[in-house]
Symmetry: C2
Subunit: 280 residues, 2 copies
Amino acid sequence: MKIISTISDLRRELAAFRSRGERIGLVPTMGALHEGHLTLVRRSLAQTDRTVVSIFVNPKQFGPGEDFARYPRNLKADSELLSASGADIVFAPEVDEMYPAGFSLSVTVAGVSNGMEGARRPGHFTGVATVVTRLFCLVLPDAAFFGEKDGQQLAVIQRLATDLGLPLTIVPVPTVREADGLALSSRNLYLSPGEREKAPHLYRSLLTGAELFAKGCREASEILVAVRASLENEPSFRLDALDLVDLETMEPLTLLDRPAMLAMAAFLGKTRLIDNVRLR
Amino acid sequence: MKIISTISDLRRELAAFRSRGERIGLVPTMGALHEGHLTLVRRSLAQTDRTVVSIFVNPKQFGPGEDFARYPRNLKADSELLSASGADIVFAPEVDEMYPAGFSLSVTVAGVSNGMEGARRPGHFTGVATVVTRLFCLVLPDAAFFGEKDGQQLAVIQRLATDLGLPLTIVPVPTVREADGLALSSRNLYLSPGEREKAPHLYRSLLTGAELFAKGCREASEILVAVRASLENEPSFRLDALDLVDLETMEPLTLLDRPAMLAMAAFLGKTRLIDNVRLR
């Protein structure tokens, strides 16, 4: 496995792969890797010939007052995990390699970015779409792998890839969870031991909604009331957002007559956790 | 030469070229082709193995009240010119092929787009950057050819290509002019015979500035005053804009200590003509 920090080195390695007709998989990450990321890597290893993992804590997708500065960074540990996993290339550029002086590009995906996290974190999805567009153009992967845990982000990237028109497959990968149900997230590192113990309650609340759906309930309001009530059983959580939306467009649904995503964001102490389940 | 209107047909043709290792040139146009466009095509034919010419009157780059509806369209005549020139593919999609239902992408290039035409035509360069990004991603050309006549557009596209990071060369091609100096433009078709006779005066006024520069003048204000005075010698023109800017960033200059562009937009009757000269 090679660890690369410049675009020119990246291009050289990719050209060598392509000259041999090898299919390239891309796993974009912000590092602080966990089993969720490694699952993406394994999917890429299974479906392509060469796997590039990017590690870049993208300043453009953090708002003022968000956790850009304290976001966990550990390239050494990440590289060891990736090397053991069988990845071919780690691309870990500095900010001024990714965004050189004069960088002026801004990519927006309207509609699907507008609600939910997009409304609560202004500029967040423009930051995501801009960095992902640049990564797609730099790597030109045959397939790119994203987790379902960041549900709206996945929908934004699927729309982005379609609209760009690159010859690229977006592969969504189901959320990986701890044994107790907590979705793996780099931000779980922020949790105290006491918070960590309570954290799975967020997912259990979402499952309350999924169970209602499985029993035949198709009224969004009924499901939302039940999930909210379930979350409130654990007073350490402070609900930030609860949405039931069309899986593709991220538009709110009142009647569940198409594939949907039930998504929640909640604070546990100072840590904001997000999770979702798909209803179809 | 093949005339193609769908993305799937385009991809099939391009894949055949690529499987033989052929280098692909792209000439994006809005049709109503003239010798300026054909010069771009000849440059592409000389520098690449296969030349794709796109013809698409892009609604996203026209503002309300601009000439989208009456912009000249003549695919038959354009195709005959291109066939005779030796182009390999004409890609002429309908609007709903280029922008299918649900299309949500918007690409902005800050800085270089903000002043001049960008300030006077809100949204224009976002429309240009969005369609050019999509064309670049669909065609993945090795080189793309743009005329210097649309001077700020060229600067926007050079910045765009750099920031996207695609493995692509932007080739600027000098403005092609009639014998009397008028820059070729599809919008010249709007001119009455009387207007056509007066039209070269715009370029002659720009040359007044270029001559001052050649004589050693480096004061932007002095050049701008002279060019304005020259244009006013032909009262049929109504000056819309006159700028002297850094050639790369499009920022206004007071002192000409780096490569610069002297650009003018002026109305002749109802027709808005633009032209520019480079000072270096």
